[in-house]
Symmetry: C2
Subunit: 330 residues, 2 copies
């Protein structure tokens, strides 16, 4: 039997790691009661500063994230890491991840690392990240680092759940800036040129600065550009100091707070409606019949979708508010 959510919430507040891990899993899986559990911990949240760490593949984000986490832990901060892994929408399995790396970091006192798969759609990942952040927050983490393993639209979605965004670039990936995804420049609060021991690091720094000058047009303070190297240790201390300072100065936490809350409410509404649609229609006779008629060429998907929504609009309590109320489902 599964432990009731109430117990997990209690365990979480008492600082039990197992409760933390279990609660994350069960909220991620949207198990019955997840929403009430999130409501229950909500008053204990709001104290965490969330950094999104993103950038070109091969930029050494994972190693850098580990270094940052260690540096923060050494300064006495409680750190959470969320490693967002690309995963298969078919099998649900995550890519051959760097499990070793996760094991290594997870043994350090004060660091909790968790990987998240990019399953689902429509902001599902972003909302999933928000939920995990809140759980880590309620558990008492001071700083959470979200690191995206993949690249793609997902990546930008995820870092939107962050208070501040670090964009990691690296010399030697062809044109250092071209490898950055469009849109990333615009959300960066701090640029890091990693692997600074390599040739060309200074060029990447000046490329970024030039690009920032163009895009900022002088009317905002440009985000800082920092060089780091996991090999020589260059810049790591300075970076960690900067991240701590941001926290002390309350930076980022309330940035776009209104828009972010609004976005979250809309996403939660959408997810709920989609779940209802999926659970209602996925195995439904009317849908099967419509599919058959599309296959024999007498209907088209656009008309079918429209008609089905008209049904919802006219009789939503029966059609959308859950199957429990009716005994004749499917």
């Amino acid at each position: 039997m599964a432990v009731p959510f109430e117990k997990l919430v209690k365990g979480l507040k008492q600082g039990h790691l197992r409760s933390l891990a279990k609660m994350i899993t069960r909220v991620e899986n949207r198990e019955a009661g997840w929403k009430d559990a999130m409501k229950a911990i909500y008053p204990d949240t709001g104290g965490t500063l969330v950094y999104g760490i993103t950038g070109a593949p091969g930029a050494g984000k994972s190693t850098l994230t580990n270094k940052i986490a260690k540096g923060l832990a050494e300064r006495g901060f409680q750190v959470g890491i969320i490693a967002v892994d690309p995963s298969s929408p078919f099998s649900g399995g995550a890519l051959l991840g760097d499990r070793l790396r996760m094991q290594e970091i997870s043994t350090i006192e004060g660091i909790f690392i968790r990987s998240m798969a990019t399953r689902g759609t429509l902001g599902g990942l972003c909302q999933g990240a928000r939920d995990v952040i809140r759980i880590l927050d309620a558990f008492g983490k001071d700083i959470v680092l979200i690191e995206t393993v993949g690249v793609g639209q997902d990546e930008i979605e995820v870092v939107r759940a962050a208070d501040l965004v670090l964009v990691v670039s690296v010399p030697g990936l062809g044109d250092g800036i071209q490898t950055l995804k469009a849109g990333i420049m615009e959300i960066a609060d701090l640029f890091i040129v990693n692997k600074a021991d390599r040739d060309g690091a200074d060029e990447v720094v000046s490329d970024i600065q030039a690009m920032l000058e163009i895009s900022q047009e002088g009317h905002a303070s440009a985000p800082p550009v920092l060089k780091t190297s996991a090999v020589t240790g260059e810049g790591i201390e300075e970076l960690v100091d900067m991240l701590v300072r941001n926290r002390e100065e309350g930076k980022g936490i309330v940035r776009n707070a209104e828009d972010r809350i609004k976005e979250e409410i809309l996403t939660l509404m959408e997810q709920d409606l989609f779940d209802r649609i999926r659970s209602q229609w996925a195995g439904n006779g009317a849908l099967r019949e419509a599919v058959a008629r599309i296959m024999d060429g007498t209907l088209d998907p656009y008309s079918v979708a429209e008609d089905m929504l008209t049904g919802i609009s006219q009789d939503p309590v029966e059609s959308l508010s859950g199957n429990e109320k009716r005994g004749d489902g499917k």
Copy 2:
């Protein structure tokens, strides 16, 4: 004044390129009337075989796609190319694409190339691709190639709109197979080891074959693995022949047809609901008030989303079926 959709549909059926391009743009932008236009062309669709071309970044997908398109055009086929570009969710601008390449290929008789940005969420890209495919189909394209420029979950979403999937790998990207996204192996109908003039191509071929043997466990015919090189021309003719043969044999067109139609209907419903929710609430007073209460700590987003949906369920015609019916909407 915009040309009415009816005219574009007519022009499309008469083979006018400008109507084709305009119709794609306006359907992509979901301009008023787009759904009726799609319904109008629907009976003329179903004749195109759609190939998804995906794989590791740097695998030379664009060049290969061009070679395939040229080969098909030389054999007298009408070809459409959809190049899916990563784009900024903030500015909407596509990444510095290979415009030159697009210009080159678009001058060849019988080839129409179109880039698509990965804006939006929730299968928006996949549905967008489906719509563009149908428009190309109604226009008379025999074969459509969808090529993903980026990597990420998006990529898999997009190739789901394809009948058959070509996965392109390449020697020299570290472990050739590890660079393939999880989930890609499972949807591949044909593996291509590109840049076969490079060292290590045979190793990549045998790696893929070994992986296929494990995953297939003998109970399905493994997809073929083909070597190609844009430099030497190796394998290109053979590949094009194979693609033509697939079309002649009617391969792939009806694979998972039911599931794909079902998925499309659900996606269309979701997109419609999403649009309604966004247009209804985005600037809405109740939402603003709720956000304020979340910010002062008296409410949480989970409860707010739930309450707002209860509102929809109880009065959906007013709340979801459009603003036109009420005069007091802002």
